[in-house]
């Protein structure tokens, strides 16, 4: 004998209302998460424009953009890597290596000045990608080793960091310092690459593959995505972009400086995370990364404006800011509760 007791006939309606409310919250939170960085950037810029007269000048904006060009390239590559659920700690070293190689190779002409850093840094990216994709070693460790190796290579080429190559090719120098419509060539170059990157990520099968690998590697494999190949490609891209960023910087400075670069990888990670990309992969946009890089750049610029705050305070503020943003992000993700 069975007794069936329906406990609450009104339950289905209550469930439906709950679902609708949940969907609404979900949509709002999703928007905040994606556009959060942009919103904060807008607020900060508004504040800066109101409080600091120097900030409003076109020159200042141009300065911010030019300074942000190399970090932007690095962060672009880092976005792809983090979207697949990985990380690339070697970009800082590759950036310096790229700069030194570009300066050294510039004696052989413009083409060499770009080709050599791209080839070498790209090759290191290939090694990173192959090790990570085919041997299941943690990206953290593999790229950490690459960080050391690339730094060693850089030192070997520059006689233990003592030799600073001067850029020999004038065209190369002009690329770094010239401008079109009063905006530096590097900024244009970066803008083009950013657009290409956005198209690649959101409008190609490869882009979808990147999101799938980061979202659920196992499912992506079962759905037929070439997981390992996708992973190799993102690390190659990251290496190439870091090398390119270094070359551009060498062109601008006119030499291959050997002492920069510490912490650039962490700046890039911070920018990507602030921009709304999940460290675990599978969600995020390049637009967010752009906002993140610009935000950090604007803050840096503001601190310089204030004048008596030295770079150490800048570090403190950056650190605090990063913590704040990431905490906010984590709570937003919890609110969405996607299975």
């Amino acid at each position: 004998m069975t007794m069936g007791i329906v406990s609450d006939p009104a339950a289905p309606a209550a469930v439906a209302e709950d679902t609708r409310r949940a969907e609404r919250t979900d949509r709002i939170v999703g928007i905040v998460q994606r556009q959060g960085a942009l919103a904060v950037l807008a607020v900060v810029v508004l504040f800066a424009v109101a409080a600091f007269p120097d900030f409003r000048s076109f020159d200042n904006s141009a300065t911010i953009l030019v300074a942000a060009a190399p970090p932007m390239l690095i962060a672009l590559g880092m976005t792809f890597v983090i979207l697949t659920g990985g990380i690339d700690l070697s970009v800082g070293s590759l950036y310096v290596l790229g700069g030194v190689l570009a300066a050294w190779a510039s004696q052989y002409g413009l083409l060499a000045a770009f080709a050599v850093p791209l080839l070498v840094c790209g090759a290191i990216g290939v090694v990173n990608g192959l090790l990570i994709a085919y041997t299941r070693m943690a990206p953290f460790i593999v790229t950490l080793a690459a960080l050391l190796g690339a730094r060693g290579l850089m030192r070997a080429i520059s006689a233990e960091g003592s030799k600073t190559y001067l850029v020999g090719d004038d065209t190369f120098r002009r690329i770094g310092n010239g401008s079109f419509l009063d905006i530096g060539y590097p900024v244009w170059l970066v803008a083009i690459l950013l657009v290409l990157g956005m198209v690649l990520l959101s409008r190609t099968r490869f882009g979808h593959a990147v999101y799938a690998v980061g979202g659920s590697e196992d499912a992506a494999g079962l759905m037929g995505i070439a997981v390992r190949r996708t992973k190799v490609w993102v690390y190659v891209m990251s290496g190439l972009l870091a090398g390119l960023a270094g070359a551009i910087n060498a062109a601008k400075l006119g030499s291959g400086v050997t002492v920069l670069g510490t912490g650039m990888e962490l700046d890039a990670i911070a920018a990507v995370v602030i921009g709304g990309t999940l460290l675990t992969g599978g969600a995020g946009t390049i637009a967010g990364t752009i906002a993140g890089v610009l935000l950090l750049g604007v803050i840096q610029n503001l601190i310089n404006q204030v004048g008596n705050l030295n770079s150490n305070w800048q570090q403190v503020i950056s650190g605090g800011f990063l913590a704040l943003v990431v905490v906010a992000q984590t709570y937003l993700v919890k609110l969405r509760r996607i299975s």
């Binding site: 004998m1 069975t2 007794m3 069936g4 007791i5 329906v6 406990s7 609450d8 006939p9 339950a11 289905p12 209550a14 469930v15 709950d18 679902t19 949940a22 969907e23 979900d26 198209v199 959101s202 409008r203 190609t204 099968r205 882009g207 979808h208 593959a209 999101y211 799938a212 980061g214 979202g215 659920s216 196992d218 499912a219 992506a220 494999g221 079962l222 759905m223 037929g224 995505i225 070439a226 599978g282 969600a283 509760r337 996607i338 299975s339």
Partner: protein, 505 residues
């Protein structure tokens, strides 16, 4: 000529022969059932067919030619499409993106045509009864809807063989009808289907042929219509038909040990969690086994986790032996005498790198220590006791738990729970993925523990196990309690009917 053929295939893992010279034929347009207990080798066989594993012996023949699938992609390209029980899609990506992943429509510039993708996805899914916005992340859909998306995707590619692994476990009756409609359509087109399921009614409704696996071997293959249900169950279990008829399909004794006069040892009142649980309430008396029934995604695991403090509750109250916990944390729940055995022992149960000893002693370390220093002697005593009582087979207590068989891992988890001297046991799929022998032992153990006065809450997607093991079954649907089944002669049909009846509101 058979569409897909498996010839004397064996697959060996360290210490285990998962498939032992298995032979199997799928004809064109045939709907072929694949049955067997958990651990009989069904998933391994499917993984061999879909290119996840390669056979260690024997061969595959596809459309008459020998075939070797090195990767899932190769099998897919050859026309073998699969739907899994756990929806193997990407929750963070949109519904449309998931549907078209890898085959996204492109415009004349070679770039993805998003508008077309979204439009075609919406059209296609409407035919499957999915009306959600295709741009939303897949993970925001109910599990049943997600499964329909997986089904649509599987059918979309030019498949010649479609393999369905427990496809209805999360589907509403209405969605099951849609699924059957799709199957009949595929059948008419000459596509072969391999249908894996526990639900015998469904099999008899939709399948032409059946192959029964037990312990990695084929024990029967042939037309389904020629096989009596009782005989099918008996073959699956390896028991005599008469015995099955008499004692049921499981090792549960069927004796009720509940103490009807006592106060409930567990009272669950009004558990609610946004969008997942709605006012779930029930009682458990000492010695009673209460089953939680319902489809995958109905909220059974969430209810169990919520009682154990591991799932965020917006409202509700948990009372153990008269003590009011309100919405407990896991620490409070364990202290109060609640013990939870999770559904996924690999992800949330065992600590694979640690030894059997360490795993068993995990929850009671403070009791085994003085001033924070661990006493190995005390631990040894407790571990010895439980290894004996539960008959845990390991080379020694120091063996890494990850190396044990599924059944023994499950027993180690139970030992961990029992070591805390719980008052209430919450078991989520305690016999999933373990061999027949261990399964019987665990079921017997549950009977014993109930007889000793523990309150037990049991979740099982094996309807037989649920019906025979529980004194009462509380049926959940979409996080709402829709009915309770009591009595000695409850059948699995009653369970299905209760779920279906609620759906017609």
């Amino acid at each position: 000529m058979a569409l897909l053929e498996v010839v004397d295939v064996s697959k060996i893992f360290p210490g285990v022969r998962a498939l032992d010279e298995v032979s199997f034929r799928l004809e064109e347009g045939e709907v072929h059932a694949l049955v067997g207990e958990n651990g009989a080798g069904k998933s391994t066989l499917i993984k061999v067919l879909t290119g996840v594993y390669q056979p260690d012996a024997g061969e595959l023949r596809y459309a008459g030619e020998p075939a070797r699938f090195g990767t899932p992609m190769e099998a897919q390209r050859a026309g073998i499409s699969t739907i899994y029980q756990e929806v193997n899609l990407v929750p963070l990506m949109s519904v449309a993106q998931n549907l078209f992943l890898g085959r996204e429509p492109r415009n004349r510039f070679g770039l993805l045509d998003r508008a077309r993708m979204d439009r075609e996805a919406a059209e296609m899914l409407a035919g499957y009864g999915v009306t959600a916005d295709v741009r939303r992340p897949l993970g925001t859909l109910a599990l049943g809807a997600q499964q329909m998306v997986a089904l649509a995707r599987a059918v979309m590619i030019d498949a010649k063989v479609v393999i369905m692994d427990e496809p209805t476990s999360s589907l509403e009756p209405r969605e099951v009808e849609t699924l059957f409609g799709v199957i009949r359509d595929l059948h008419a087109r000459g596509i072969g289907i391999i249908y894996v399921s526990h639900r015998l009614d469904e099999l008899y409704q939709i399948c032409d042929a059946v192959t029964i696996l037990r312990d990695g071997r084929v024990v029967h293959t042939g037309k389904l219509a020629d096989l009596e249900r009782i005989r099918l169950v008996a073959l699956m279990l390896g028991r005599e038909m008469a015995e099955v008829r008499r004692e049921g399909a499981t090792a549960f004794s069927g004796e009720a040990t509940a103490d009807d006069d006592a106060e409930p040892i567990l009272r669950v009142i009004g558990l609610s969690s946004r969008n997942k649980l709605h006012d779930v309430s029930f009682d458990v008396r000492p010695g009673e086994v209460v089953g939680l029934g319902g489809l995958l995604g109905a909220g059974r695991s969430e209810t169990i986790k919520a009682i154990g403090g591991a799932y965020r509750l917006d409202a509700g109250d948990v009372r153990v032996d008269g003590v009011d916990l309100k919405r407990p944390t896991t620490v409070q729940a364990v202290k109060a005498g609640i013990a939870v055995q999770p559904e996924d022992r690999k992800a949330e149960g065992i600590i694979p790198g640690l030894s059997v000893r360490e795993n068993i002693a995990l929850a009671v370390l403070p009791r085994m220590a003085r001033f924070g220093l661990v006493s190995d002697a005390k631990i040894d005593a407790v571990v010895e006791r439980y290894m004996t009582r539960l008959r845990i087979k390991a080379s020694s207590p120091d063996q890494a738990v990850g190396d044990l068989s599924g059944g023994n891992q499950q027993k180690v988890l139970l030992a961990r729970l029992l070591a805390t001297n719980p008052k209430v046991l919450l078991l989520d799929e305690p016999t999933r993925g373990i061999d027949v022998g261990a399964k019987a032992e665990v079921q017997g153990l549950i009977d014993e523990l109930a007889a000793e006065g523990l309150g037990v809450v049991l979740v099982s997607s094996d309807a037989e196990e649920l019906i025979e093991g529980a004194d009462r079954v509380v049926v959940l649907r979409d996080g709402v309690v829709v009915g309770t089944l009591t009595g000695a002669s409850v059948t699995t049909e009653d369970l299905m009917a209760t779920i279906a009846e609620a759906a017609n509101d």
